[in-house]
């Protein structure tokens, strides 16, 4: 019996209450425990990733209740990849937060951070639709706390919007689950898949409603265009390191779409055939367009990066919405790239904001200008999809995956034009922030001293760590893409998953 699979959920779940109850007043101890926990998470998830890479699907029955009666955790290639990604991003963000003393700006950063990791890990691992809802709530309620960490009027108001929007999303999620349960009588994903597949053709009206409601919920999480309004205000006003962690949260939406619409409402299921892809593709194209326009028009660095997060979600969802094995493989590669790139860019944005404020306009020179400018440049290359970094490979794979689609010309056109506009947007922002700075009016005598001194090395370790992730992703694009393709193969052969969950096939 392998208990390792439940540890990514249990470890933060124990650590967070421990921190809040036992060592609430000792920031050093909090940092040590939080960091140790996250390092352990990285080790655990990488072990799990190595186990899943063999192609086995591990099923963990909580309380030893067999599926579909109990809740199961399922570890397949996709889940293993996502939890490893979460742990790595979490570690980088935590290092940054400790290096810049962000955790001193408000209370209970570390417990909230651990709860957030727990929710994300659980959402990626669970094999039960209602349990997915519960883990969504865990990660959301922790994210509410993190989002308003440090306070300030604007952040609190943005926080209210964020919470209200997500509460509405949660309610819709419940409506969708109620509909699915009413039709099928189960909420276990594998069991759902079996029952939806054998649904009589004249009784599919309700299940179609349920499927679309569920898509709306996940689209809110993934910030797909008509439902993206929460993202720019929330991410731009959240503490930037927290926004970097939130880079994984939009991926939770993308993951859920991938999981539910390959397993339960897959391409072979007659009752919901074509329902999702037909809607998702135009929405994804519009998402990419809107994100790109936002990059061009942003006046603050936080907004700039938030819109680039939307744009990268657009590219990702284009690949997902095609629902072919090849495109899904590209999407999985792009998920890794997008998580690292967005996370890194938010951290770079925080380096800039802490030195000169967030306005994209000529300003006073800042400490370590050259170093930060190079990091911004690297992040911009990654996010706009220019060679040599992994964004280029990712976009190439997505376009290659779209080659056989009917609307390939439209998809290629949108992706290529969006890349060009993104380059222009980042070039504008970068040159205004880093180059024009020295031409601006020399600052008054008094203000010169208020500039923060160069910070310690730790924040740069975190940023360079994420950059290293991007570089490794580009250098080892072959093996990673092989893994991504194998993952897609597993997703498009749901019988294996269903068999592992329901019939205990190891």
């Amino acid at each position: 019996m392998m208990h390792l699979i439940v540890l990514p959920v249990v470890l933060p779940a124990i650590l967070a209450p421990f921190i809040i109850m036992a060592i609430r007043h000792h920031m050093d101890l909090q940092r040590i425990f939080s960091l140790a926990g996250t390092v352990a998470l990285v080790a655990i998830t990488l072990t799990l990733l190595a186990q899943a890479a063999t192609g086995d699907i591990q099923v963990y029955e909580l309380g030893n209740w067999p599926a579909p009666f109990g809740i199961v955790l399922v570890l397949d290639r996709l889940s293993a990849l996502m939890i490893a990604l979460t742990a790595l991003l979490g570690l980088a963000v935590l290092l940054y937060v400790i290096g810049t003393d962000w955790d001193l700006k408000g209370r209970h950063f570390h417990p909230l951070f651990q709860f957030q990791l727990m929710g994300v890990m659980g959402a990626f691992l669970t094999g039960d639709a209602f349990n997915l809802f519960v883990f969504f709530e865990v990660l959301l309620i922790a994210s509410y706390g993190l989002m308003i960490h440090g306070g300030g009027a604007r952040r609190l108001r943005a926080g209210v919007q964020y919470v209200v929007y997500n509460l509405l999303g949660s309610t819709l999620f419940l409506f969708a689950l109620g509909t699915l349960y009413a039709v099928t009588g189960t909420l276990n994903m594998a069991d759902l898949a079996e029952r939806v597949a054998v649904l009589p053709a004249d009784e599919t009206a309700l299940i179609r409603v349920g499927a679309v409601l569920l898509l709306v919920v996940f689209a809110i999480k993934a910030a797909v265009l008509p439902l993206h309004f929460w993202l720019p205000a929330s991410y731009a006003n959240a503490p930037m390191p927290v926004a970097a962690l939130f880079a994984i949260m939009t991926k939770v939406g993308a993951y859920s779409i991938l999981r539910m619409y390959t397993l339960v409402f897959g391409p072979d299921v007659g009752s919901t055939d074509g329902l999702v892809g037909d809607w998702l593709l135009p929405a994804a194209l519009l998402t990419l367009g809107a994100g790109t326009l936002g990059i061009l028009g942003a006046r603050k660095i936080g907004k700039l990066v938030a819109f680039s997060a939307i744009a990268s979600m657009g590219t990702l969802l284009i690949a997902i919405s095609l629902f072919t094995e090849q495109a899904t493989g590209a999407a999985i590669y792009y998920i890794i790239h997008s998580t690292f790139a967005t996370g890194m860019m938010f951290l770079v944005a925080d380096l800039i904001v802490s030195r000169r404020g967030g306005i994209i306009a000529p300003g006073t020179p800042m400490a370590q200008n050259g170093l930060i400018a190079s990091l911004f440049f690297a992040g911009a290359i990654a996010l706009s999809g220019m060679p040599p970094l992994s964004g280029f490979i990712g976009k190439l794979l997505v376009m290659d995956g779209a080659r056989d689609a009917d609307q390939w010309a439209l998809i290629w056109g949108v992706i290529l034009i969006a890349s060009l506009v993104t380059v222009v947007g980042f070039a504008r922002a970068g040159s205004l922030i880093f180059w024009k700075g020295y031409e601006a009016e020399p600052p008054d005598e008094g203000t010169q001293e208020t500039h923060p001194a160069p910070t310690s090395a730790l924040p740069f370790v975190a940023v360079f760590g994420l950059l290293a992730g991007l570089i490794l992703l580009s250098v080892f694009a072959g093996p990673v893409h092989d893994y991504a393709r194998a993952t897609a193969g597993q997703l498009f052969d749901p019988q294996e998953y269903i068999g592992a969950v329901l019939r205990g096939g190891k």
Binding site: V134, I148, A153, R157, Q161, V164, N237, R299, K300, G357
Partner: protein, 127 residues
Amino acid sequence: MELLLASAVGIMTACGVYLMLRQRTFPVILGLTLVTYAVNVFLFASGRLAQNLPPVLNPEATAYSDPLPQALVLTAIVIAFGMTAVVVMIALSAYLSARDDRIDMSEDDTYDDEQTADHVDNAEDGA
């Protein structure tokens, strides 16, 4: 009973949506609460409506009501309750620090301050 329950869900959702589209925080939160009530009742209905039937094994029972939606509703109630408490607290502190309880953020908010709030412990007016 079906008509009663369905119209209750419908009316509560409609009122909730109307309230959520209001401009001030308080009606929006009330609207959210109404919608969560509606979804709780809706979840009950997903296990089919039945009266006076036992949910767990009973030797004298001839039929059963579905116990699972009841467990789901219990979870949903707890979560909705906690979330509402959180949103009330955040909304209250937002109102106290901004002196304004509008739910939307005017465009001025996004770049009114030279220095962003992140490193200045500011309580500046967002209006």
